[in-house]
Amino acid sequence: MRKFLTSTAMIALAFAGATAAARAADVKEVQMLHWWTSGGEAAALNVLKQDLAKEGYAWKDVPVAGGGGDAAMTALKAMVAAGNYPTASQMLGYTVLDYAQAGVMGDLTATAKKEGWDKSVPAALQKFAVYDGKWVAAPVNVHSVNWLWINKAVMDKIGGTEPKTFDDLIALLDKAKAAGVVPLALGGQNWQEATMFDSIVEATGGPEFYKKAMNDLDEEALKSDTMKKSFDNLAKIIKYVDPNFSGRDWNLATAMVIKGDALVQVMGDWAKGEFVAAKKTPNKDFLCYRFPGTEGSVIYNSDMFGMFNVPDDRKAAQVALATATLSKSFQSAFNVVKGSVPARTDVPDTDFDACGKKGIADLKAANEKGTLFGSLAQGYGAPPAIANAYKDVVSKFVHGQIKTSDEAVKQLVQAIDDAR
């Protein structure tokens, strides 16, 4: 038996030795963990690869089995735990801050000063890209979720006009229903329902209330009658979905609008990518309005490239990556393809379509007015534990496990309290 254990130990040691030897450093290389592997996103990222290639930096994807953000984050966790940091990783919201708190992020403050990020990147975004006074991530884009995507042909057929209030929207949906099309295209997955609810909360309570309830998680606001009314409004609007909505993917809901089977979808601006891919033009084939009652503010989420504390011989590559990511040319080229708007407010909007131009103008205005808010459903209002507890409650309300708005508010307060 002892011999058995000795050989076991020796083989274990041999494995350990092999992994140590496999670590090699190459200065002219960027190691990147991301999940932008599908059509448009991959094409958008290619722009960055080419920019870096011009400066002599090779691009190396860190392979992730399975695709999708969850698998990538699990892989990242394992890499960081093993002390094997990538140059950068695509990250969302609080994840950046979690890793920064764990002390594994790099410091890009010098680059940020030189490139003037402090002034050009909206303050609300800096909350996630700057930790403890140090820049730890480079924001790539800003998505906003308070949009209505409308099929113009259907809109013309029913004689609808842009809704300015929540009641207008309900009236519009009624018209669509009378005309025999599905009024509201929704995918019944919790994040889609909650994303729509983000907009409803602001439409119901106004920007001040949204910030208090969904970003500051103020208990008074969460318990308030305004919150109850928001749930009542959700109950109102949910009546306009088709019976088969549960579990549908967001892009299939978008396809319903594109094909004219449905009038409107409430979704983030990544939905525009689907319209563009289907060769549709804004204002001609489809319309993009702000969710009524949220005009003038932007509920956002953003993709970031988190920059890790890599060894010194890899820092030059990291700086090059960060600089290229926030360069005006890349910001414009990338976001035109991705459907989002640039993460800095001083990028010219010449290459963008009508919806993109509106998005850029709205972001700039919201940044100046202080009405740029993180989306709670997308994980920019609170850490994941709380954001998911929120999604649970909204989804259970939509699907009838929670029956009244009173109960929903009680559950919401309780769930957020639990997750804190």
Binding site: M1, K3, F4, S7, T8, A9, M10, I11, A12, D70, M73, T74, K77, A81, T95, D98, A102, G188, Q189, N190, P243, N244, F245, S246, G247, P383, P384, A385, N388, A389, D392, S395, K396, V398, H399, G400, Q401, I402, K403, E407, Q411, D418, A419
Partner: protein
Amino acid sequence: MSTVATTEPILARGKRTSIRTRMQNALPQIVLAPSFAITIIFVYGFIAWTAYLSFTNSKTFPSYALTGARAYQRLWRWTFESDPPSSWYTSITNMGIFGVLYVGICLALGLFLAILLDQKIRGEGILRPIFLYPMALSFIVTGVAWKWFLDPGLGLEQTLHHFGWTSFHFDWIKNKDFVIYTVVIAGVWQASGFVMAMFLAGLRGIDSEIMKAAQIDGATTGQLYRRIVIPLLRPVFLSAFIVLAHMAIKSYDLVVALTSGGPGGSAWLPSNFMYEYTFKRNEMAVGSASAIIMLMTISAIIVPYLYSELKEKAR
């Protein structure tokens, strides 16, 4: 290791042990060592680690300061939150429904099919693999196929509407109260053929003399199966039960592929709960605690089985 000890003196008869013989002696250990080390570390080591983490306050990353059984307290409280149902309550009640129906129906259907196939029918060689084939599919494939089939706008309902039966209505997969039964349907479809094969092997192993004797004594077919065949199949029941029970408890991919969690998370099983909390919600302590509870559930089934098996062998 006793075999090695007994062969050693024979091999060492030449007094000088050459390198070759020594290598031969050590070979079993060398070959076994990696899998032994891997099992120790990656199975038992990580079970211990998970148990440890469940008593900490781990969030995104593991933290090692013990902070008491707060995670278990939360799970315990959630266990009794039935209206509106907490996610944990949903998960464990679904586990009960799914476990009982899945194991029960698979056993019943498997036995029934095996008995039918055992009637010396023609074409058995073709029928057997047809029933067994679903087992060769992964849960993801089963899940996606059934998702399309059961989708009211796409599959069965839509097709029957096209054929003119417009009053037909079957939307369980979109219904929070029934979605778990669609998981049972897909699971049973996949596993019952395998159970059938197990029973068929058992039936073929029964001595035909016993059957003939019973028939001479005037037993009817019903009595024959009820009194003789099924009791003789007891060991097969036990093995099939163990296989099915652990498959039920570790079911995860089927729920994800078939329902993506169901309306409002109503199709969750404890394994979905564990993954959601550990990796999506960054509540590693709660996730670990739920994993430990799952482990204890499995142990409650497997340990008595192993105990009785080992006792029988010792006899």
